[in-house]
């Protein structure tokens, strides 16, 4: 049994027209047993930057605490928020620090960069960045998510259509994965607002 599959997770981020969406499932499990159905996997770093952490829940929590710490220090020193590209490099560096004893997490980073251009990327557990122009996925349902996103994605979607697309891709993928699911958590971020929604899917 892989350590990445101990808690179960599904994460996806998609790029739209001057906006992005990031979505996760809500299950916290211990192998076959479901502990909670309201577990948060997507965290806000600042109003225009979100990070989702899949994989082992304890490492996701530790990593999130470390990243928030580093970002707060950055804010104090630079008197501004971190750009998404910079934050992705920070995540990559922090993960590679533990190269021979890694955090068992796969992060998905999504943010609005300069001129409201959406930025998404994912890294593996030791910090290898994967930038994408359309969508990134992570978690135990990642293979299903790749298929669903590839078929459903269109470039330059408006926020409403992006929300529909990412929700459908997430729900259909987690239904094929026993370790993730129990609803969905979607954030759609535009330059002016952040819309948070809870999805009700198959509760199994």
């Amino acid at each position: 049994m892989s350590i990445f599959e101990y808690n179960g997770s599904a994460l996806v981020a998609m790029v739209g027209k001057n906006c992005f969406a990031i979505a996760s499932d809500r299950r916290l499990g211990v192998q076959l047993q479901t502990i909670a159905t309201d577990f948060q996997k997507i965290y806000k770093i600042h109003d225009r930057l979100f990070i989702g952490l899949s994989g082992l829940a304890t490492d996701a929590q530790t990593l999130y605490q470390r990243l928030v710490f580093r970002h707060k220090l950055y804010q104090l020193r630079e008197e501004r928020d971190m750009k998404p590209e910079t934050f992705a490099s920070l995540v990559s560096a922090i993960l590679y620090e533990k190269r021979f004893g890694p955090y068992f997490c796969q992060p998905v980073i999504a943010g609005l960069g300069a001129e409201d251009k959406p930025f998404i990327c994912t890294t593996d557990s030791i910090g290898a960045k994967e930038l994408a122009k359309d969508f990134v996925v992570a978690g135990t349902a990642s293979e299903s998510l790749y298929g669903a996103c590839e078929s459903m994605f269109k470039p330059d979607m408006e926020p409403e259509e992006l929300f529909e697309t990412i929700s459908q891709a997430l729900l259909s993928s987690v239904d094929r994965d026993c370790l993730s699911g129990w609803g969905g958590h979607v954030y759609v971020v535009t330059p002016t607002e952040v819309k948070e929604s809870i999805l009700k899917g198959r509760m199994d």
Binding site: Q33, I35, A36, A57, T58, Q61, G101
Partner: protein, 202 residues
């Protein structure tokens, strides 16, 4: 195997633990209290290796007391839970503790709360939680009968249902359980559920 479970009710949180201290096939004692009173309004129900359980929970208890001495105010339940998680997480890649914890507490501002902290330091605030083989029975029963804002009577009734289920369906079911409750009046022992009394010494 060790059974620990708990739930949050209307203005209180209740935790239950079995009371067997087992070493391989031998039951050392059947009145071992595994729910520690962390401070006036917090309970820690711990399950796992007995050495780690006692050492770790005492360490947390003393540090929570130290905070209160130094700062003049007690830690909130959330703060105590996050501190516990931090200690488990730090030790995880050096010298891990094999202890699963349900931390129940009552805060004046936020009311009762229950935190699930497993041995690899995953932390989550829950309404009902359980550890061990008994969790397969108690979690399902609680899923069926639990609703938010249960009274003490309803909660103890549900607890008794869980204990009956564990006793009848778990092959090496522990015979005795202790129930502790925490509410605005503090953390205290509520009851014992004994089906086998320890042989008393002369």
């Amino acid at each position: 195997m060790e059974c620990v479970f708990g739930l949050v009710g209307n203005g209180f949180a209740i935790v239950v633990a079995d009371t067997s201290a087992v070493h391989s096939i031998l039951v050392h004692k059947s009145n071992e209290d595994k729910i520690m009173v962390l401070d006036s309004h917090k309970l820690v129900a711990a399950s796992g290796e007995s050495g780690d359980r006692v050492q770790f929970t005492e360490y947390i208890q003393k540090n929570v007391a130290l905070y209160q001495f130094r700062n003049g105010i007690p830690l909130t339940t959330a703060a105590a839970a996050n501190f516990t998680r931090g200690e488990l997480a730090t030790a995880l890649r050096k010298n891990p503790y094999s202890v699963n914890i349900l931390l129940a507490g009552y805060d004046k501002e936020t009311g009762p709360s229950l935190y699930y902290i497993d041995y690899i330091a995953s932390l989550h605030k829950v309404d009902k939680g359980a550890f061990g083989y008994g969790s397969y029975f108690s979690l399902s029963l609680m899923d069926r009968h639990y609703h938010s804002g249960m009274s003490v009577e309803e909660a103890v009734d549900l607890v008794d249902k869980c204990i009956m289920e564990i006793r009848s369906r778990l092959v090496v079911a522990p015979p005795n359980f202790v129930i502790k409750i925490v509410d605005k009046d503090g953390a205290r022992e509520y009851a014992w559920r004994e089906s086998v009394k320890d042989a008393s010494t002369a």
